[in-house]
Symmetry: C2
Subunit: 427 residues, 2 copies
């Protein structure tokens, strides 16, 4: 873990941003031909790319009932109960996000806003060697609460042509039964443009690697997307009383995600920095993933020494982390000062995995500073609004001269005319 | 106006989609070098492109106080009052969109969601020959209600180096005083990457031509954007009692926007189609913009004959128009059947300009079928959410085995470890 100045971090993150811009551009160029292939050759192209990227020749894209039954028999029934409890917790947290219609009304007019669930949503779940049943729950439950009628799940198969049973069981517990064994950018394109066996969707959500993220960027505007996700991040603000063992464990939990994960400690205590470094070494030594974690700890872990908690928070707001842990006394007091973060973990006994799996808050969160403008995934991502308005004849006549003058100021004379034809007798 | 079958319309819109995809791709390639120039040369590149695209050599990018004062003296004071009334109406409609925090709590845990206004927002207003003070109001007022502290307005100058006084006055009425005379993709890139004289923003909203839309698509992920806007659309559902004069006027009001605007009539009455065609000819003849409107009426106006209002609505839901007018008896009754539309105009006396300028609903609406997944611009576009959670020691200990088992199922052992270090004594 490197102790650095903020100016050094700014430079580091700008370099990373520039590198990412180039990489994104390169990947966009790589995947454009795949998009064209899906548009032109549909399912055939899907089978071709699944063979190429997932190393498996499939007979069928759609997961069968038998495969789902088999999935249940291959996982521990205790785990199914754990999934069920997590589902209850996620439902409880997300239900209050359902919004209500509203309207303004008097005898002359009626204006309002009403809500509809998006009709058909595609849900991308990473696969291959990864298995993320938690992502199934976190993405599908807000959609269910919103009232989405059709949820389509896509997940790349392993080299045996199978999707991880944990993922299948999680999907089945939420009554998702339209599941396709496809992944990568080709899955995003199939959901966008449709093929013979996969009808196109209205919106695509869910995490993925940079190929998936860039495919989502490419199709945005033809379908909706949730966000463009980057590597995962944790930022821990700790005071001198915080437990170095917990801090080290939490930094490492983020580091195991991927080689670009970013782990930051901000503290007022030099002593804490020293103790955390010792703990990191101890825990890395004992870890099953010693090699990767020791690389991570030297290349993607940073710590800052600040003069006060206020200064730590200012720095954190500027970084806008995906996960923010406040390991400080009375963390709630500082909540109102947090401006930019995906999810905020308060106190010593709320490490990030509590949010990843369990408490009920969503784990699909804005990364790479996007929490400056983007929210965690929620029920609102699966609902769209429509406004409506009705004017009476009398109201329109009363307001007509103002509306006409406004339209004329914009030199939109046919707009003015649409009012005039209704409010003048002589034509 | 062509009377067509739905299959013909589907083919027409797919052809348009394919054409747009190619055009979008071409424009993305054209503007990438502009992005690089803004990143590398900042203000110098802004002056260069303003000279190139707006035909004017500016001394200064920022609008001065004197320019705003001069704007007031060049517009009718009656128009200022009209702007003020529109502002009141827009505030009244949008205020109920402010959301409330919520939390779940018991002695063992505390979970919630809280809201923050986005800190700095860029607002793009088209300029040159166009003048859209209404877009200033429609984009800035929801941002003001959300509590956005810094609203930056950009608008391309005319060949005298000036921004339309209507736009400046509208901005000033909302206390927006950071205004730059830049437009096109270069303005979007300046807002995204920042230059010496323009600090970068967190999110960019507002309408624009295809260069602006593609620039927004390109930068999405580095900043937030509201939506990718396409050409404007109107769809009118009319029964046999509807007034053909009003229908024709409303179709033409949309047609004057741009050469790609799309105007659709769906009706159960052949007679109405005949009468609307006659009216179109009459009104085009009398119009100040006879030439463009007569081209529009042959190339971008369509009508469908259906068997029932239900069938008309099914068709409309599939098209998902930006503006939907229901010129039918008891239009409110059908509101619940509308699934996809930006804004819905009920009855004979609510033509689209009532929503464009006056009633208070927003006129920044999803186009090109995007109302299947996207909402009108609103207060929610300027607010982002954050979740937070706190577990007690007892709660964490109680749930630890479940969380650990879930993490292990995903083979994320360092996640499991972050729980273990807090819940086992012996280390």
């Amino acid at each position: 873990m490197k102790t650095i100045l903020y100016s050094e971090y700014t430079e580091f993150s700008e370099q990373k941003l520039n590198k990412n811009r180039l990489l994104s551009q390169q990947i966009l160029n790589e995947i454009k031909p795949i998009a064209n292939d899906i548009i032109n050759f549909g399912d055939d192209a899907l089978y071709k790319y699944t063979k190429k990227f997932d190393n498996v020749s499939l007979d069928n894209l759609k997961v069968t009932k038998e495969e789902i039954e088999r999935a249940y028999s291959s996982i521990d029934s205790q785990l199914v109960n754990i999934f069920k409890q997590a589902i209850d917790n996620i439902y409880a947290f997300h239900k209050p996000q359902l919004q209500k219609d509203y309207f303004l009304e008097n005898k002359d007019f009626y204006l309002g806003q009403t809500y509809r669930a998006i009709e058909r949503v595609g849900l991308y779940i990473p696969g291959g060697t990864a298995k993320y049943p938690s992502s199934v729950l976190m993405n599908a439950i807000p959609a269910k609460i919103a009232g989405v009628k059709e949820i389509v799940l896509v997940c790349p198969p392993n080299s045996n042509g199978e999707i991880d049973p944990n993922v299948l069981v999680a999907a089945d517990l939420l009554n998702i039964n339209e599941i396709y064994k496809i992944g990568g950018s080709q899955a995003i394109f199939a959901l966008t443009y449709g093929t013979k066996s996969i009808r196109k969707v209205n919106k695509i959500v869910g995490p993925g690697n940079i190929y998936v993220s860039m495919a989502k960027k490419l199709v945005y505007g033809e379908v909706g997307i949730d966000m463009i996700a980057g590597p995962s991040e944790i930022l821990i603000i700790a005071d001198e009383k915080a437990n170095p063992k917990y801090i080290a464990a939490d930094l490492l939990s983020q580091a195991e995600h991927d080689i670009n994960a970013c782990c930051i400690l901000i503290t007022t205590s030099n002593e804490i920095i020293k103790l955390v470094k010792d703990e990191l070494n101890k825990q890395i030594d004992k870890s099953k993933r010693k090699n990767i974690l020791s690389v991570q700890s030297t290349s993607n872990m940073f710590c800052f020494l600040t003069n006060s908690i206020e200064e730590s928070i200012t720095l954190s707001n500027d970084i806008a982390p995906e996960h923010l842990e406040l390991m400080i006394e009375n963390p709630k007091v500082y909540l109102s000062k947090i401006q930019n973060a995906g999810s905020i973990f308060l106190g010593e006994y709320t490490p990030e995995p509590v949010g990843d799996y369990w408490a009920g808050t969503n784990h699909t969160l804005p990364t790479s500073g996007a929490s400056k403008y983007q929210s965690p995934l929620g029920v609102y991502d699966f609902i769209k609004k429509m406004s409506y308005l009705e004017y009476s004849k009398e109201k329109l006549e009363k307001e007509s001269s103002s509306i006409i003058e406004f339209a004329n100021a914009e030199t939109l004379f046919a707009h003015a005319n649409a009012i005039k034809v209704r409010c003048t007798q002589d034509e």
